[in-house]
C-alpha cells in the first residue's frame, strides 16, 4: 500500500509539474495585472473564492474541451478581448474586471457544476455562457435561483431565456433566421416558389423550417414541397428527385454543414439548378471544402460577417487579429458582444447586485454590437438583424443584412 500511495502522489505531482511547465508557453489571458504574486500563497489552500474589493469578477462557462471545443475557445477569445478593452477604458465604477472561466467539457452536468461554483464560491456579478443550448439550459435554472444575471452569447434555442427573468441572450433565436431567409428570398431574390429539405432529427432544423414555411407563404410565395432527411444520411437522391419534379425556384436546407456539402453535390448531379438557401448551421470553414463548386450561388443567414463594412466591426476585426492572429468567427463576435453588453449594463446599474444588473441588461436598447445592433425585448431575447452571405468560388461574401 505504501508503494501505491507513493505512486498516486507522484502521479499527481507529475500532472501538476507538466502543467506548470507549460505555463510560460501558453498565451497569458489574465485580464488584470498584479494578481500573479498572490497566487502562490493561495495555491496551498486549493480554494477559489471571490475577488478582492477592487475587482469585479465575471463568470464564464464554456466548452473548452470536448466535441464543441472550437466554439468555446472562440467565445472565450471574444470575451477576453472585450474585457481587456473595457479595463483599458477604466473598468466599471472604478474597479477592474476579471473573467473566471470554467470548462464544461460540452456536458450539461459539468455546466451546471461550473455555474454553481461560479455563483456560490466565486460570487461572480454576471455569468456569460454557454454556446450549446443544452448546456445553457442546464445553467439557467441555477443562475435564476441565485438571482445572478446570465447572458448567453450564442444559444439560439428559444427555451433558454424562457427559464426566467435573469436569463438573456445577445443572438437571435432560431425562428428569426427562418423569417430573415424567407424575407430575403422573397424581397431580394424575387423567388416565388420554394421547396424545403429539413433534418427531421434536429430541433434547430424543424424550427427554421416551420417559420420559413409560414412566413414565405405570408409574403405571397408558395412552398411546393417539404422533404425530410436525418442527420448523417449519405444518400439524398430520393428526396432530391421529388424536389426536382416539384420545380421550385429555391431550395431551403436548414441543416448543418456536414450534410449540406453532400446534399449540394447530389442535387447538382441530378440536374437541380435552383438556388440553395440555408441558416447559420452552414457556417464552417469546411463548408465549401465539402460542397465544392456545387454550392456556388447559394445564400445563408448568419449572425455576423467579417466583411461587414461598418467601421466598428472592422475595428474589432483588426484588434482581434492583432491579439489572436486570426479573423474572428461569429462565436468570437457574439462572445465579444455578450461581454460588452454585460459591462455596459454594469456601468448603468445603480449598484452591482444581481437585481440591479438584471434591470440594466433588460433596458439595453440599440447597443452597437459587432454582430448587429442589439435591443433586448420583453422576452429577454436580442432583437437584431441577421446577415445574409453568398457562397462564391469557395468563399463567403457579405450580401446584406435583414432587420426584424
Amino acid at each position: 500500500m505504501r508503494v501505491l500511495r507513493f505512486a498516486v502522489v507522484a502521479l499527481m505531482a507529475l500532472g501538476c509539474a507538466t502543467a506548470c511547465e507549460e505555463r510560460p508557453k501558453t498565451q497569458e489571458s489574465e485580464t488584470t495585472q498584479g494578481t500573479g504574486a498572490a497566487t502562490g500563497a493561495i495555491a496551498a489552500s486549493g480554494e477559489t473564492g471571490p475577488a478582492d474589493a477592487n475587482t469585479i469578477l465575471i463568470g464564464e462557462v464554456g466548452s473548452l474541451t470536448g466535441p464543441e471545443a472550437t466554439f468555446g475557445v472562440s467565445t472565450r477569445n471574444g470575451i477576453d478581448l472585450a474585457i481587456q478593452q473595457e479595463n483599458a477604458a477604466g473598468g466599471v465604477k472604478g474597479k477592474k474586471l476579471k473573467v473566471r472561466v470554467y470548462d464544461d467539457q460540452s456536458k450539461p452536468e459539468e455546466a451546471a457544476n461550473a455555474v454553481t461554483r461560479l455563483i456560490s464560491q466565486d460570487r461572480v456579478a454576471v455569468i456569460l455562457g454557454e454556446v450549446a443550448s443544452s448546456n445553457s439550459l442546464a445553467m439557467a435554472p441555477k443562475a435564476q435561483a441565485a438571482q445572478t444575471p446570465m447572458i448567453t452569447p450564442s444559444s439560439t434555442n428559444e427555451k433558454v431565456t424562457q427559464v426566467g427573468d435573469y436569463i438573456f441572450r445577445v443572438c437571435f433565436i432560431d425562428a428569426f433566421q427562418g423569417y430573415a431567409m424567407a424575407k430575403f428570398a422573397h424581397d431580394t431574390l424575387k423567388v416565388k416558389t420554394a421547396a424545403i429539405l429539413k433534418d427531421q432529427k434536429s430541433d434547430y432544423s424543424l424550427g427554421l423550417t416551420k417559420v420559413f414555411n409560414t412566413k414565405f407563404t405570408e409574403f405571397g410565395g408558395k412552398i411546393v414541397t417539404i422533404e425530410a432527411y436525418s442527420k448523417g444520411d449519405t444518400d439524398f437522391r430520393a428526396q432530391l428527385t421529388a424536389i426536382k419534379s416539384a420545380k421550385p425556384e429555391a431550395l431551403y436546407i436548414p441543416g448543418y454543414y456536414t450534410d449540406i456539402g453532400v446534399i449540394a453535390r447530389q442535387a447538382r448531379e441530378l440536374g437541380i439548378k435552383t438556388i440553395l438557401l440555408g441558416g447559420d448551421g452552414w457556417e464552417s470553414p469546411t463548408l465549401t471544402e465539402l460542397g465544392g463548386s456545387a454550392l456556388d450561388g447559394s445564400y445563408y443567414t448568419n449572425h455576423y460577417s467579417p466583411e461587414d463594412p461598418s467601421p466598428h466591426v472592422q475595428q474589432f476585426i483588426a484588434e482581434y487579429r492583432k491579439v489572436y492572429g486570426a479573423v474572428p468567427d461569429s462565436l468570437a463576435a457574439l462572445g465579444y458582444d455578450a461581454a460588452r453588453v454585460a459591462v455596459d449594463a454594469m456601468r448603468r446599474a445603480k449598484d452591482l447586485t444581481g437585481p440591479s444588473i438584471r434591470d440594466a441588461i433588460a433596458q439595453t436598447k440599440a447597443f452597437p454590437g459587432v454582430a448587429g445592433t442589439i435591443s433586448i425585448d420583453e422576452n429577454r431575447n436580442a432583437v437584431k438583424p441577421a446577415v445574409v452571405l453568398k457562397v462564391e468560388d469557395g468563399k463567403t461574401k457579405f450580401v446584406t443584412t435583414v432587420s426584424p
Binding site: 489571458s29 493561495i42 474541451t65 473566471r100
Partner: protein
Amino acid sequence: MESVAAPRFSGVPGWLRGPLPILLSLPILALAQWATAQAPFLVYIASIVGVNVILAVSLNIVNGMTGQFSIGHAGFMAVGAYIAGKFSLETKDVYLPFMQSVAASDQLMFVFALLLGGAVAAVFGFLVGLPSLRLKGDYLAIVTLGFGEIIRVIVQNTEMFGRALGLSGIPQRSSIFMVMFWVFLTILAARRIASSAHGRSLLAIREDEIAAEAMGVNTTAYKVRAFVISAFFAGVAGGLFAHFVGIINPGSFTFVKSMEIVVMIVAGGLGSTTGSIVAAVFLTLLPEALRSIFTQLGGGDQTLAQRVDQIRMPIYGMLLVALMLLRPQGLFGTKEIWDVAPKWLSRRRKGMR
C-alpha cells in the same frame, strides 16, 4: 468467508436489527441537510459524488459479487433519469391534497418518480438480463455495451424525450438528504445481499460457475436477480441526477459514463462495497480538486484551468495502470475496509490475513 460478514451489533434486540440503520441515519442526514443549506456548490458536488457512489455500489453487485462483466450501466441510469425526469415534468403542478404543504407534496412525488425510474430500469434489467446472462464473459460485455448504446440512440430519436436537446426544466427537488438517503439504502442493500444466502450463491457463481451449478445453484436466476437489483439502483441514481442537474440529454449517458463506473469498481476492488465507495468518492472529487488547484496555480489563467480536464483522462489511465501493476485485485481486493484497515494500522503483523 468471514470477510463478507458485516460487523455485528451486539445487544440490539432482534426485531430492531432490520430497521435500526435506517432509524440511525435519518437524524444524521437531517443534520447534514441543515448544515449545508447555505452551500449550494457543496450540495452539488456531494450530490454528484452520491450518484456515482450509488452507481458504483450497484454495479459492484453484478461485476464484483457475481463476477459478470457488465459495461452498460449508463444505459440503466439513462432509463431511470428519463422516466423519473419525464414523470416529474408531467406532474410538475400536481399537488397532493392530503400532504401538509406544497414542499412535502413535491418531495413525495419526487420519491415516487425515483421509484418509478428505478422500477422501469429494473424491468429493462430483467429484459436484457434474461437472454444475455446465459452468455459469459466477453459476450455479455458486448450485449450490455450494446444495450447502453441502444437506449441512448432511442432517446436521441424520440420526440417525447426531447431528442438531442434532452429534457430541460425538470423541477430541482433533489436535496442532500434524499441523495444520501439513497446512497445509504444502496450500500445497505449491497451489504445485506453480500451477507445473505443469496449473496453466498452470487459469490459461488463468481468463484466457479460450474461448481456452483453442480452444488444446485440456479446460476441464471441468481445472475438475473443481481442484474435487476443493480439496474434498479442505477435507475434511482439516474432519477436523482435528473433532479439536481435539471436537464438530461443523451450526451450524459454515453459509453464513457459506463466506463467511468467500471473504472471506479475496478480501482476499488471488484467485490468490495467499501472499495467501490472509496474509489467513487476519490475519482469524482479528483477533477474538482484539480480544478481548484490549477485555478489557483494559474491565478485564474484560463489556459491552465482548461488543461485540467485534458489531463484528467491521462491521470485516470495512469492511476489504473499503476493500480493494476501494484495491486491487480484493486484497492481492497474482495475484502471490505474493516477487514483491511486493521492490518494497515498494525503494519502487517505476522500470521494475520
